[in-house]
């Protein structure tokens, strides 16, 4: 009872951010990046165990953000900065104004844009789970982007129509991929799988729910 856990992500260190930037700019190989991230996850898990947390997370150190990271795992996707995406937005001025009003730095937030048919090159989070399981006997929580968030953010008509007729058809594939992942995470012994759907509040609480947000 009163199990103490986290929602998922942990502050990134300067070393990790440098490695992430170098990886994204092609200056650092995948193995080298993972070695840096391994160190960060080790410290993050140790801090949770020492603090007395019951259900631990890996801190999402391997992820650019909680949903954009799927571009590392799925064919048919490309990591795009919001600045890059701006080229495809019809009302650029309104989009830029929204980013400024909401205090969103366009350069810091990247999107997993769908650029073709999706295929799971490798599991989304099974590797993260296995690594944490090597570090502790505590149960592990794994976070995944929810199907609505993922479909909504991935769909950028100008790019996504190469692979899918519409957002609904893309959504069917996103759900299939997440179901496969969930099954593998269960088989690998995940204690808890949490789907993140922060955009649901945007739909019911903002004035214009069809407005393109940054997620």
């Amino acid at each position: 009872m009163f199990t103490v856990t986290q929602v998922g992500s942990w502050p990134r260190s300067r070393d990790l951010l440098r490695a992430l930037r170098d990886k994204q700019q092609g200056r650092l190989g995948r193995a080298e990046f993972e070695a840096v991230a391994d160190q960060e996850v080790r410290r993050c898990v140790q801090l949770q165990v020492e603090a007395g947390v019951d259900l631990v997370v890996d801190g999402e150190h391997r992820r650019d953000n909680f949903y954009s990271f799927v571009t590392d795992k799925l064919d048919g996707t490309r990591l795009m900065s919001l600045a890059e995406m701006l080229d495809t937005v019809e009302d650029k001025a309104a989009f830029e104004e929204m980013l400024a009003t909401l205090d969103v730095p366009a350069s810091a937030i990247r999107n997993p844009t769908c650029t073709g048919k999706l295929a799971r090159r490798e599991p989304l989070a099974v590797g993260e789970l296995r690594f944490v399981q090597q570090l502790t006997d505590k149960p592990v929580k794994v976070t995944l982007p929810g199907p609505y968030l993922l479909t909504r953010s991935m769909w950028v008509s100008a790019y996504s129509q190469v692979g899918y007729r519409d957002k609904t058809e893309l959504g069917d594939d996103v759900v299939r991929i997440l179901r496969e992942e969930l099954t593998e995470l269960r088989d690998q012994g995940a204690a808890f799988v949490q789907f993140d759907e922060p955009v649901l509040t945007e739909i019911v609480m903002s004035e214009d729910c069809d407005r393109r947000t940054f997620m």
């Binding site: 009872m1 009163f2 199990t3 942990w10 801090l47 909680f66 949490q194 649901l200 509040t201 019911v204």
Partner: protein, 138 residues
């Protein structure tokens, strides 16, 4: 294995006024249709509304009670966390309640909303509160 869905009102800025406000009322039909064990919800800020809204409708599910704000430096007072959890006990049993922050501490790698030392303090606040709650209700 448990499954859950996490919903919040934005976690990209420390300017609370740019983040959304409103209770969960309009999302209840969607929540009820989701086949998940737990809703992991923001409740540490008044922007999230009252516990009663979800409690009266979905007391048969588990609650991941957002009880610390990931966007502030100060360690959250365990007494406040305990009071919030006791309010949740009007709708959920002790074993249905998990304690967690309102959201992550760094959803966007290059725009983390906090630093490690503060995040650790916040975890400790929750652990202290959980020990007291287990003693009172265990």
């Amino acid at each position: 294995m448990r499954t859950g869905v996490h919903v919040c009102r934005g976690n990209w800025s420390r300017q609370e006024e740019v983040l959304l406000s409103g209770d969960y009322h309009a999302l209840l039909p969607a929540f009820a249709a989701m086949q998940v064990d737990q809703f992991v919800l923001e409740y540490a800020t008044p922007r999230a509304g009252e516990l009663r809204i979800v409690g009266e409708a979905l007391g048969d599910r588990e609650l991941g009670l957002g009880c610390v704000n990931p966007r502030t430096d100060a360690a959250d007072d365990p007494a406040v966390i305990i009071a919030r959890a006791e309010e949740a006990l009007q709708y959920w049993r002790p074993e249905q309640i998990f304690l967690n922050p309102d959201c992550g501490f760094g959803c966007f790698a290059s725009r983390c909303v906090n630093e490690e030392e503060h995040a650790v303090d916040k975890l400790r606040s929750m652990v202290t509160a959980a020990r007291e709650l287990r003693w009172r209700y265990g």
